[in-house]
C-alpha cells in the first residue's frame, strides 16, 4: 500500500491481548483487526492455537499501521488487554512506558510505575447480564470508555468503528448481534 500524498502518517499501534483458552481472545483480536482494515489501516496479528488453547494461557498480538513482524516486542505495546488478572504478571513486560493496561479484575491492579491501569470486574458484569461468554466485549467496551478510541493515547479505532465491525461479524443481525452490542454497552457504561 503506497501512502497518498498529503495524507497524514498512518496511526501505529501495538496491542497485546492476554487471557486463557475459551475467553474469546481470538474473536477480540480479529474484531479489532477487521476494524483496522475497515479504517484503511494495514494490520498484522499473531494468534495462539492448538494445545495452549485448552484452558491455558492465550496471547494475541495486534499491530496496526505498517509493520513487518507479527510479534510485539517486550516494552513496545501501547495497550495490554488482560482478560485474566493473573496474566498481568506474565505479560506486563510487553507494555511500553506510558502504555495502558485494561484488566478484568475485581479490584485495582498494581502494574507498576509508568502504566495507566484500569480495572473492571468484567466476569461479574457478564455473569449478571447472563452472558458469561461475553467477558471479552465487556472489557473492550470498558477500554473504549476509559482510554477513548480514535484519539491520542486511546485505541486506534472509534467506538462506532467497533460497533460496525461487530455488526459485520454478526451479519444476519438478530439476537447474537444484539447480545454482543449490549455486552459492549455494559462495559462502556461501567467505564464512563
Amino acid at each position: 500500500m503506497s501512502a497518498d500524498l498529503g495524507r497524514s502518517p498512518l496511526p501505529r499501534q501495538q496491542v497485546v491481548l492476554s487471557g486463557v483458552g475459551g475467553q474469546g481472545i481470538l474473536f477480540l483480536s480479529r474484531l479489532l483487526a477487521e476494524a483496522a482494515i475497515a479504517g484503511g489501516l494495514p494490520v498484522l496479528t499473531s494468534e495462539t492455537h492448538g494445545m495452549a488453547q485448552r484452558g491455558g494461557v492465550v496471547v494475541s498480538h495486534l499491530k496496526v499501521g505498517g509493520f513487518d513482524s507479527p510479534l510485539v516486542r517486550a516494552g513496545r505495546a501501547d495497550l495490554l488487554l488482560a482478560l485474566k488478572e493473573e496474566n498481568v504478571a506474565l505479560h506486563r513486560e510487553f507494555l511500553a512506558d506510558g502504555g495502558a493496561l485494561i484488566v478484568n479484575a475485581p479490584g485495582p491492579t498494581d502494574a507498576g510505575p509508568g502504566v495507566r491501569a484500569h480495572a473492571v470486574d468484567a466476569d461479574a458484569l457478564a455473569l449478571s447480564a447472563g452472558a458469561p461468554h461475553a467477558v471479552n466485549l465487556v472489557l473492550l467496551g470498558f477500554a473504549l470508555a476509559r482510554i477513548g478510541g480514535g484519539t491520542a493515547g486511546g485505541l486506534f479505532c472509534t467506538e462506532g468503528e467497533i460497533r460496525e465491525a461487530i455488526s459485520r461479524r454478526h451479519g444476519g443481525g438478530g439476537s447474537r448481534l444484539a447480545d454482543a452490542l449490549s455486552a459492549l454497552d455494559l462495559g462502556i457504561a461501567h467505564g464512563t
Partner: protein, 609 residues
C-alpha cells in the same frame, strides 16, 4: 480497498492453492497446519471450482493421493505439520526421483518453539534430503503468492515443491487483497511409462542423476532468487534472513537504526540456495549473518566458513524460536551498536493447559487410575495428552505409539518375570492414523494390555476435523463411515466393549473386567465413547448453576487433584471447593467423584449421556 480482507496465513495459503488451479488437496490435521484444508474447501465453494478435497487417514496416504493426481497432469497439494512429514517421508523421497507432470505442492508447517509439537525440526532439512526445492514465506500475503509460485516451479522442472511456513506465518493474520477469481481447469491424463512411474533400481539411478541436474538448474531460477531490501551501501556486512525471522529483522533494521552499510537480503528459496547469490555474498561481504528457523539450512550452503555467522557458529542460538527480542541484540552486536535494553517478554508460565470442563477424557483417566492404580499408562498425541495432569499418562512418543509402547512394556516386564497392568489410551483419530498396525502386531504377539480408545467422534485438538468414523467429509458432505468395533475385532481382538466413561461406576467396573481379560488372554479394547465437550456443549448449551457444593465439603482436595476440572476451584480462604460458574458445563460427572458427597446436582436436570 473493498477486496482487502483479514486473512490468516493458512487461509492465504489455501487461497493461493485454489487460485492456482489446485484440483486435489489432501491433509491430516496438525497444528499449525490444520486450517489449510478446511480453508481450501471454503475457497473451492466460493469460486465454484471442481476439486477433490479430503481429510486423509494420515499424512502418508494424503501425500500419495495428491502426488498421484500430479502425475496425471493435474495440480495437487498436500498439507501437514512437520512431524506429519516424517510419516509422509517415504513417498516424498521417492516422488522426488519420479517427478510429476502437474504441479505438486507439499506444505509442511514447522513449529519453532515448539508451541504445539513434539519437536522443532526443520522441514527444509527433509526437503534437502529428498532433493526437492523449498520456499520459505515471511508473511501470510507472501505465503499466498508462493503457493502459486510453487506450482509454477514444480511444473517448470517436474519436481515436487515444498512450501514451508512456520507457526508465526500460519497463525498470523494480515490484510490481504482478495478479488474474485476463477481458477484454471485441466483434464486428468495419465501417460503410461513404467520405466518412470514404476522404476526399478537401475532406472532410479538415472532418475537420481536427472534430479541432481534439476536441483542445479533450480538454483538459478529467477522467480525465487533472494531479494535485497536495503538500498545500496558500503559493502561490508550483510544480513541474510528467511521466513518470519526476515520480517522481524526488517522491522528491527528501522527500529534499531542499523547503519546504512549493512545490507538485508530475504531468501525465498532456502534450498537449493541460488548459486549466483552465494557467489555474490562471498565476493562482496566480509561478514554475513544468517537468521533462519530452525536449522542452519541457508548457513550451511554458504561455503566460506570464516565469514558466515549463524546457528552453527553460536552467533544465533542453536535451538528455539527466533523471537524479535532474541534477534534484536544479535543484530545490534553484528552492527557494532549498543545492545538494546529491555527484558524478554514472558514466554511460559501461567495457567497450564487442561482438559475442557465437561470433557469425557477426564472421566476415562479418573476411571483408569481407579481400576489400575499401579498400572503403566502409555498414551498418545491429542487433547488427551493432557491426561498427564491427572497422573494417567506416563509416555507420549508419536502418533500411534501408545499401542506399540503398551506391547513393549509387557514384553520387557515379561522377560523379568513380572506382570504389570498396562492401560494405554489413544484417541479415535490417532487410532485410525497409526494405531491399527501396532494393534494387529500386539494380537499376533500375545501382548497383555488394555487399550482404551477415547472415541469423542472428532479430531478435537486441531479444531474438530472429522475422523473416518464420522461419515462426514472435509466439506461437510456425507461419506462412508468406518465401524470401529468391527475394525478392532478384525484385528483379532477378542475383548472389545463400548461404554460411556461419564457413567463412572459402570466404566470403572468395565475396565476391571478388561484388565482380567488382558492378564489372562491378551489384548482387551475398551471404547470410551462420548462426544467432545466442545461440540456437545456448543450444540446443547451449558447449564450454569446446575452443580453446587454443599456444607459437607471438607477441603480434602480429591476432586481438584485427581479430577482436575477447571470449574472446580479450591478456595484457600474458606478451605473449600467452589464451582466456577463462568466455565461449568453442568455435566455433573464430578458428583460421583467427591468422597464426602458434597458435590450435588441442584436442579432435576438430566445427566448427560
Amino acid at each position: 480497498m473493498s477486496d482487502r480482507i483479514l486473512m490468516q496465513g493458512n487461509d492465504a495459503i489455501a487461497r493461493g492453492m485454489v487460485e492456482a488451479g489446485c484440483a486435489v488437496a489432501a491433509s491430516y490435521p496438525g497444528t499449525p497446519a490444520s486450517e489449510i484444508l478446511s480453508s481450501v474447501d471454503r475457497w473451492r465453494k466460493k469460486c465454484g471450482a471442481t476439486m477433490h478435497v479430503e481429510w486423509a487417514v494420515n499424512e502418508k496416504v494424503a501425500l500419495e493421493i495428491a502426488y498421484t493426481a500430479a502425475i496425471t497432469g493435474l495440480r495437487a497439494a498436500v498439507s501437514m505439520k512437520q512431524v506429519g512429514l516424517n510419516v509422509a517421508s517415504d513417498p516424498l523421497l521417492s516422488a522426488a526421483y519420479l517427478g510429476v507432470t502437474g504441479g505438486f505442492l507439499v506444505v509442511s508447517a514447522d513449529d519453532p518453539g515448539p508451541h504445539s509439537s513434539q519437536t522443532e525440526q526443520d522441514s527444509r532439512l527433509l526437503a534437502m534430503m529428498a532433493k526437492v526445492p523449498v520456499l520459505d514465506p515471511a508473511s501470510p500475503s507472501q505465503a499466498m503468492a508462493l503457493a502459486g509460485t510453487g506450482f509454477d516451479l514444480s511444473e517448470a522442472f517436474g519436481v515436487p515443491v515444498m512450501l514451508r511456513p512456520t507457526t508465526r506465518v500460519c497463525h498470523a493474520s494480515q490484510d490481504v487483497d482478495a478479488p474474485p477469481f476463477r481458477p484454471p481447469v485441466r483434464e486428468a491424463r495419465f501417460v503410461k511409462d513404467p520405466a518412470r512411474w514404476a522404476a526399478t533400481p537401475v532406472y532410479r539411478r538415472l532418475l537420481h542423476d536427472r534430479l541432481a541436474e534439476k536441483i542445479a538448474a533450480i538454483a538459478g531460477w529467477p522467480a525465487t532468487a533472494p531479494v535485497r531490501v536495503t538500498p545500496d551501501g558500503s559493502p561490508a556486512k550483510a544480513v541474510v534472513a528467511s521466513g518470519v525471522a526476515f520480517s522481524h529483522a526488517r522491522e528491527l533494521f528501522g527500529e534499531l537504526g542499523m547503519p546504512g552499510g549493512i545490507a538485508l537480503y530475504q531468501v525465498i528459496q532456502p534450498y537449493p540456495l541460488h548459486a549466483a547469490f552465494i557467489e555474490h555474498l562471498l565476493e562482496t561481504y566480509e561478514e554475513i549473518l544468517v537468521l533462519e528457523e530452525s536449522a542452519p539450512v541457508i548457513e550451511m550452503q554458504i561455503a566460506d566458513r570464516r565469514r558466515v555467522r549463524g546457528r552453527m557458529t553460536g552467533a544465533v542460538p542453536g535451538t528455539g524460536e527466533l523471537l524479535p527480542e532474541i534477534i534484536a541484540p544479535i543484530l545490534s552486536r553484528f552492527a557494532g551498536l549498543p545492545e538494546p535494553v529491555g527484558a524478554l517478554a514472558a514466554q511460559g508460565g501461567g495457567r497450564r493447559p487442561t482438559l475442557c470442563p465437561g470433557c469425557a477424557h477426564r472421566s476415562s483417566f479418573y476411571a483408569i487410575r481407579k481400576a489400575a492404580p499401579d498400572g503403566i499408562y502409555p498414551s498418545d498425541i491429542g487433547c488427551y495428552t493432557l491426561g498427564i495432569n491427572l497422573g494417567a499418562v506416563d509416555t507420549v512418543l508419536c502418533m500411534g505409539a501408545a499401542v506399540s509402547q503398551a506391547a513393549g512394556f509387557d514384553y520387557a516386564h515379561r522377560l523379568s518375570g513380572k506382570q504389570v497392568d498396562i492401560v494405554a489410551t489413544i484417541g479415535d483419530s490417532t487410532f485410525y492414523h497409526a494405531g491399527i498396525p501396532p494393534l494387529i502386531d500386539a494380537v499376533v504377539q500375545g501382548a497383555r494390555f488394555v487399550l482404551v480408545i477415547l472415541d469423542n467422534g472428532t479430531t478435537a485438538m486441531t479444531g474438530n476435523q472429522p475422523t473416518p468414523g464420522t461419515g462426514i467429509g472435509a466439506g461437510g458432505e456425507t461419506t462412508a463411515a468406518v465401524d470401529m468395533e468391527g475394525l478392532v475385532r478384525a484385528c483379532g481382538v477378542r475383548f472389545c466393549r463400548t461404554a460411556n466413561p461419564d457413567r463412572l461406576p459402570e466404566f470403572i467396573a468395565l475396565l476391571k473386567e478388561a484388565l482380567v481379560h488382558a492378564r489372562e488372554r491378551g489384548v482387551a479394547v475398551v471404547i470410551a465413547r462420548q462426544p467432545c465437550a466442545m461440540v456437545a456443549f456448543a450444540a446443547s448449551g451449558k447449564t450454569p448453576g446446575a452443580i453446587v457444593i454443599t456444607e459437607e465439603c471438607n477441603g480434602c482436595r480429591h476432586c481438584v487433584d485427581r479430577f482436575e476440572c477447571p470449574s472446580l476451584v479450591f478456595d484457600e480462604a474458606t478451605n473449600r471447593v467452589r464451582i466456577d460458574e463462568m466455565t461449568c458445563t453442568g455435566c455433573g460427572v464430578c458428583v460421583s467423584v467427591c468422597p464426602a458427597g458434597a458435590i450435588r446436582r441442584e436442579s432435576a436436570g438430566e445427566e448427560r449421556s
